[in-house]
């Protein structure tokens, strides 16, 4: 039976509400005391809309160790972040000598805010240590990745993002430089959480049915939801043991690890204002991390982000062709050069 309710959830959630409801530096207040949770016509809290993660882009996954258990930044620290953000914008506008990076216009920006890290539990805001077995597993995976990423033998040497398969249920919500769209659509007995990158729609039944058979496993897992007051709680299991859990796809410097099929996620969605949903996910896999850990952040509606555009990744994955064809071309050249040298 997978419905476990630990104390961690409510405690972390309360801490999160305190942390994330603090105002970002340059914006006015979002929550209004008069705001009332709208309901659907069949009586469920209405969470519908497009809820991008973009605003949290400047917040690191893990906390600077110097901050220890302090979850909120000071005004000065927030101002420093805002200044760095501005520096990044200036990088985009070029060096004044005619060289302009591609980045101009193609990237999103976050809002400097008080949250010191996306990880809010453990209290130091850092992902717990891996088990010994997971450490060995991850070391081997990273070693292989570093050896092969610039010259892959096959597509299996690249990440599931390179292959356009998935960013996993956590990676797809984590803020990134672009395409942070998420959408919630509801129908009687269901909530759907749909992401932009890489176009997955998690259908979450609310009727209390058990999880699918353990023989049925997948990349995004099998989700079951229920309401706790106006909070949607989603329990997800049945993973296939190949999914990277952390920031994005598990390539360059991504924080996290590939989880086993024992992975268990508990998410909480609470709408706290017309344009804010507080999102939280507790990640548990005793065969990977020595304790569960929790990410929490607000998902803020944005005026120009009211539609999820199609991200047909696999269909346009010229990179995959180029990486493989490029590697083979280089090997051929090297072989020809060696031949020449030998003659």
């Amino acid at each position: 039976m997978r419905y476990r309710h630990s104390l961690i959830g409510p405690i972390v959630f309360a801490a999160t509400v305190i942390t994330v409801s603090a105002q970002p530096v340059a914006k006015t207040a979002t929550a209004s005391k008069a705001w009332k949770q709208p309901m659907t016509s069949w009586g469920d809290p209405d969470l519908q809309g497009v809820w991008p993660s973009t605003s949290m882009l400047q917040t690191p996954m893990e906390r600077d160790p110097k901050l220890g258990t302090r979850a909120a930044l000071t005004d000065e620290e927030v101002a420093q972040k805002a200044a760095r953000d501005k520096q990044f914008h200036q990088l985009e506008t070029g060096n004044g000598k005619g060289f302009v990076p591609l980045a101009a216009g193609w990237f999103d920006y976050g809002q400097a805010n008080r949250q010191a890290s996306l990880v809010v539990d453990p209290p130091d805001g850092r992902i717990p240590t891996l088990t010994a077995e997971a450490q060995a597993r991850e070391a081997a995976r990273k070693k292989h990745w570093n050896e092969k990423k610039d010259s892959p033998d096959t597509w299996m040497d690249l990440t599931t993002w390179d292959r356009c398969i998935t960013l996993g249920p956590v990676g797809s919500v984590m803020p990134f430089a672009y395409n942070n769209g998420q959408q919630i659509v509801q129908g009687p007995g269901y909530v759907v959480f749909r992401n932009e990158m890489i176009h997955e729609a998690r259908v979450i039944p609310l009727d209390g049915r058990p999880h699918a058979s353990p023989e049925i496993r997948s990349w995004m897992g099998d989700s079951r939801g229920h309401w706790e007051g106006k909070t949607l709680v989603v329990d997800t299991t049945n993973f296939n043991g190949q999914v990277f859990i952390g920031s994005q796809g598990g390539g360059f410097g991504d924080s996290g690890a590939v989880a086993t099929d024992q992975l268990h996620l508990v998410e909480r969605f609470t709408r706290v204002a017309d344009n804010v949903i507080n999102y939280q996910v507790t990640i548990e896999d005793p065969q990977t991390w020595t304790k569960p850990w929790t990410i929490a952040m607000p998902l803020r509606r944005e005026a120009d982000y009211d539609y999820i555009y199609e991200y047909a990744c696999h269909e346009g994955n010229i990179f995959m062709h180029d990486a493989l064809a490029g590697a083979r071309a280089e090997e051929k050249k090297a072989a020809a050069a060696a031949q020449k040298g030998a003659n």
Partner: protein, 270 residues
């Protein structure tokens, strides 16, 4: 009043009652369909086509599949086509292209590559899809390739660039959901037999609940670059009524990579 007059009046009254039923207003003569709180037909549920359209939209005998190595499993069963009038009205040049597509279908069919199916093919793939409907925009979620699409129910949207699943703007005409699909990139095929279109394709779908568990689906396809005139398809969508039935994930990219990239695999061995 005489007995005769009474009988006449009663009969006339009954006749008037029957004639007074307007089928379009969903009166007692029509089957009961589920409705939302706003009285709109409730399309929520998991649906699937039982037609042979995904193999071949038009009437066809049983024929060999593209891989004899799979025996009867890869063969195409006979099928009653779903095209109104029987034949797809290709322009001559397009009819030639269709023949080429058919000849190359084993590797050229976007379905073989696990590419998004486009509209209308998504409606008659041999996999279920789920409609999630509230009083706002609707979502159609397809089991195949984690495809999905939003049906905008408010002000129609335009999109700046084409896509595999297009831009869907929906509205109700009586009890029929009419979905106008534009912005299709034309890269999806219409079936496994090589039927195709271009980025000029415009599809208008109509979904009508005929009873609790059946939807009459109709689509009009128009593409002056490919077809001589607009044409229609009709099929029935069946509700998946099995207890606890749910969409499962079919991420098929890992099953298509060998086909797509196998020639670039590093060759090991001497």
């Amino acid at each position: 009043m005489s007995a005769h007059l009474l009988r006449t009046l009663s009969s006339s009254f009954l006749i008037i009652l029957c004639l007074g039923h307007n089928p379009a207003s969903g009166q007692a003569a029509a089957p009961k369909i589920p409705r939302m709180a706003d009285r709109k037909p409730d399309l929520n549920g998991i649906w699937e086509s039982l037609s042979t359209a995904n193999w071949d939209l038009q009437d066809h005998s049983a024929y060999a599949g593209p891989m004899w190595e799979m025996g009867a499993i890869a063969a195409v069963p006979a099928g009653q086509g779903i095209v109104e009038g029987g034949l797809i009205p290709y322009l001559p040049a397009s009819a030639e292209k269709r023949k080429q597509n058919f000849a190359n279908r084993r590797s050229a069919d976007p379905e073989a590559k696990c590419y998004l199916p486009g509209i209308p093919r998504a409606a008659y793939l041999p996999y279920p899809f789920q409609i999630v409907q509230s009083n706002k925009d609707m979502l159609f979620i397809y089991q195949y390739a984690t495809a999905s699409r939003q049906v905008n129910m408010g002000k129609p949207r335009e999109v700046g660039a084409d896509s595999w699943m297009g831009m869907s703007n929906g509205h109700w005409e009586g009890d029929t959901l009419v979905v106008d699909v534009t912005g299709l990139n034309g890269k999806a095929w219409l079936d496994r037999a090589g039927d195709f279109s271009s980025d000029g394709l415009h599809v208008v779908e109509r979904y009508t609940l005929t009873d609790q568990d059946h939807v009459a689906y109709e689509a009009t396809l128009e593409d002056p670059k490919i077809f001589a005139r607009p044409w229609k398809i009709h099929l029935t969508l069946y509700r998946r009524v099995e207890k606890g039935f749910q969409l499962l994930e079919f991420k098929c990219i890992p099953f298509a990579e060998e086909l797509l990239y196998g020639e670039f695999r590093k060759k090991t061995g001497k």
